[in-house]
């Protein structure tokens, strides 16, 4: 009998080791902080009109196109732009401008995050920075390490070029590191650099990015320490990445290139919505079984089978296609605010109500399309509106160049009721009664002008 003690002890020890490792592999968000630029960087529609007028390359058709795009984009009057546009230097941005833009963001947001959580920079073990359009030497991650005097053995990764869907990719890296090491604290910094990517030519598909993208960013603190579980806000349940780069139409629909005159810009192709839908559907197909309850999956499978069988025997009269109800497994939806059309399309595909897409719409209105960090602004809106309760499931989905669609599911760890995030000062005025652009009528005159004789006088003042 006693001779079995020792092997049994070994067995239990090994089992405990495996179980304990699983316990330490969870990915928790301790806190996050979104960037609110200073008010002197606000871009109103009036100012945008001014910027368009300043560009001597554009003719009447381009004005019409652009004003129509701005006015119907769903972007409001209080979004923020890079400093060099506000100072009138958008035709010749310098490297200095780009670095200042990034410094403004880092010094403001990361400081606030460290103060809020009480964690010091020397406790950070992993740093992942993703800023798509700027790659300098030394990298922006080195810039952060230098400023905050972080440790020498820090694991640092600088991702670029991954587009608007880069946030889940950064979380993926951190999630994998959490699986192999214990008691790790990670900092993810995500933003976009608009200064050097500003397009100065007149190709319509490329100017659109100037109109839609705005300044913004987010810093997120994650950990897998079991001791900090009580203070955590969210726990990562699953993450799925879909990459459609293999298809040529998907790869070419959002591409950075030079136009006919040699100006660099990001070209948005006409089949962008189609590529996005395809990637979106593929991603949903993969993540749905992982996040929906079994009951809903069974219901959907049965309905599909029944429909297939009735179609086989009864060729006429197709029944309505069964739709998966995502709300059975998800309580809140964080959609990437790529534009009004994107939000509408996703809402239609997932059968979401106005209440569900209100956070995304309001983020688009107040902050514009801030690229990879937009889903964090949407999350902050939900938190400010006190919608997040313990046990709720939050679904984040974003699209990006390549063409990628990445999504992840978070579980809320505790009731998130306290104030104090980026929406704090104006959350009570949201949602506003109308989000139509006030300049809609003012710019209506442009439809009557004749392209050949059109000429804006130099002293024209926008009403």
């Amino acid at each position: 009998m006693f001779s079995y003690c020792f092997p049994l002890l070994c067995l239990f020890y090994n089992l405990w080791k495996i179980f304990d490792r699983r316990r330490h592999q969870n990915c928790y968000i301790l806190d996050y902080e979104c960037y609110k630029p200073s008010d002197d960087k606000k871009l109103s529609t009036r100012f945008c009109g001014e910027v368009i007028r300043r560009n001597k390359q554009l003719g009447l058709n381009e004005y019409k196109f652009l004003l129509k795009a701005i006015v119907s984009s769903g972007i409001g009057e209080d979004t923020y732009g890079p400093r060099m546009v506000l100072e009138g230097r958008e035709m010749s941005p310098t490297l200095e401008d780009a670095i200042i833009e990034m410094d403004d963001f880092f010094l403001d947001t990361i400081d606030k995050l460290f103060n809020k959580t009480g964690i010091s920079p020397s406790e950070i073990d992993v740093l992942v920075v993703n800023i798509s359009m700027l790659a300098i030497v030394p990298s922006l991650s080195s810039r952060i390490i230098h400023h905050y005097k972080m440790r020498e053995d820090i694991k640092v990764y600088n991702l670029t070029g991954m587009g608007c869907s880069a946030s889940p990719i950064a979380i993926n890296i951190v999630q994998n590191i959490f699986k192999t090491q214990r008691n790790v604290q990670a900092l993810i910094v995500t933003s976009e650099s608009l200064s050097l990517g500003w397009y100065t030519g007149k190709d319509r598909s490329m100017i659109l990015t100037n109109c839609l993208f705005r300044s913004g960013g987010c810093a997120i603190l994650l950990t897998n320490k079991v001791a900090l579980k009580e203070k955590a806000m969210f726990k990562l349940k699953c993450l799925v990445r879909t990459h459609h780069g293999a298809k040529d139409e998907s790869y070419d629909c959002c591409k950075q290139k030079e136009d006919d005159q040699g100006y660099e810009g990001v070209h948005l192709g006409k089949n962008l919505p189609k590529a996005a839908t395809r990637a979106f559907v593929d991603n949903l197909k993969e993540i749905a079984p992982k996040i929906l309850p079994v009951r809903e999956l069974l219901r959907f499978t049965l309905l599909t089978l029944i429909r297939k069988m009735t179609q086989k025997y009864n060729k006429t009269g197709a029944a309505a296609r069964p739709v998966i109800n995502f709300k059975t497994g998800i309580d809140h939806f964080c959609l990437h605010t790529g534009g009004k059309a994107v939000i509408d399309a996703v809402a239609q595909n997932l059968n979401l109500s106005e209440y569900d897409i209100e956070p995304a719409r309001m983020t688009l209105h107040r902050f514009g399309n801030t690229s990879a960090s937009s889903i964090w602004y949407v999350l902050a809106y939900m938190q400010a509106k006190k919608r997040l309760k313990k046990g709720n499931k939050v679904f984040m989905i974003s699209f990006g160049a390549g063409f990628k669609c990445n999504s992840c599911l978070w579980e809320v760890m505790r009731d998130l009721d306290q104030d104090g995030n980026v929406w704090k000062e104006f959350i009570n005025s949201y949602p506003p009664k109308t989000i139509d652009n006030p300049f809609f009528e003012k710019y209506g005159w442009i439809n009557e002008e004749d392209p050949d004789t059109f000429h804006i006088p130099d002293d024209y003042v926008i009403p």
Partner: protein, 496 residues
Amino acid sequence: MPQALPNFSSSVKLKYVKLGYQYLVDHILTFLLIPTMVGISVQIILLGPEEMLKIWRSLDIDLVQILCSSFLIILICTLYFMSKPRSVYLVDYACYKPPITYRVSFSTFMEHSRLNLKDNLKSVDFQMRILERSGLGEETCLPPAIHYIPPTPTMEAARGEAEEVIFSAIDSLMQKTGIKVKDIDILIVNCSLFSPTPSLSAMVVNKYKLRSNIKSYNLSGMGCSAGLISMDLARDLLQAHPNSYALVVSTEIITPNYYKGSERAMLLPNCLFRMGGAAILLSNKSRDKHRAKYRLVHVVRTHKGSDDKAYKCVYEQEDSQGKVGINLSKDLMVIAGEALKSNITTIGPLVLPASEQLLFLITLIGRKIFNPKWKPYIPDFKQAFEHFCIHAGGRAVIDELQKNLQLSSEHVEASRMTLHRFGNTSSSSLWYELSYIEAKGRMKKGDRVWQIAFGSGFKCNSAVWKCNRTIKTPTDGPWQDCIDRYPVHIPEIVKL
């Protein structure tokens, strides 16, 4: 050694004492175990076979007990092996070999320099002096856009260079290993200074039609040490994903980063950086255990960004005329030495044999307690590694490291010859050097390789590999047609 005594190190007798000491300490466990085993077996033999049978019968074991204990033992062994971290194997790698038409000899370079910088003869002189002392040869290559006078670095040209370098390297890797592109689960691309949208990793996915659930990552801005950072990321990913292949592509795209101004400190990279790239296939599948070339043992990363001088020593900025270039500061060597010391402090205990560590510990204690004047003991890394791959950053870097680590000229031969034949190809230079060692037939099974790279920030990263199987010559790789000409003697100054 105390300063008062004469220097005995050169004495032959002391060398043998040192060898004996090393042998003793390194194999101490064997020395303790063997007498114990011998003692036990002698005792058992003395007992005699009848005694042993009697003891066996008295234990009174029946079939059930035997089955239970064997089941338990098997279960414990399985659980133990399941919880061990997975080994990461390097199946194979391929380096890009530029066509001979891209060659830039000294005369071509100087002529282009004179025509491009015609108003700044001092800068032309400066470039000539750098080239003379650089350690580069006449066969290094630059991409086609740079061969124009003046260079025409458009985005299309940059994309063209990226496609040529990356796709050739990956094609050659696929041919060597025979795996299908559909099998790749993880893709990491690192290129410091060129980062288009969609990323270079998306470009690879598009060309080779990789799977839609591929995990792709595009690292940039991390300098010449980015190759080892990608290895670290791949290792972490392969721990979390069993049975997968990871493809890592390391390159540096020269086209968009050619400095067009005349500021001297920023002309330095123009003289040293050349075209190059490498594709590496990593795996954690057990069936690759036998055909893999190397096994990854350690990756150690050191980041000196918190120090102001270290941070600013490789810095991208605009000169007085608004032209963008990379500024290399004068104390690059000193900072590199500091970063190396930090890295060695971490990697030393992991790789040095027990004898070296003991000596280092004794001298450390001695310095702290007895006499601070004792010379610090620099551990002999030649005991821990057979081959060294030092990033071919420039002649000064290799000289400095050779001095610091007390390496012989054969150890740094791979680095010097790579600098001569291919120039500074940034993150992929380590792979050209490894290829040189293999082409020379020096890589045997069990050999340990130490790859060290420095990068902007200031980072010093190192990786330790263990050779899995002896690599036979002739190898196919970038050195295939010229290995017999090497090593060449590189003079201090080449008169132009």
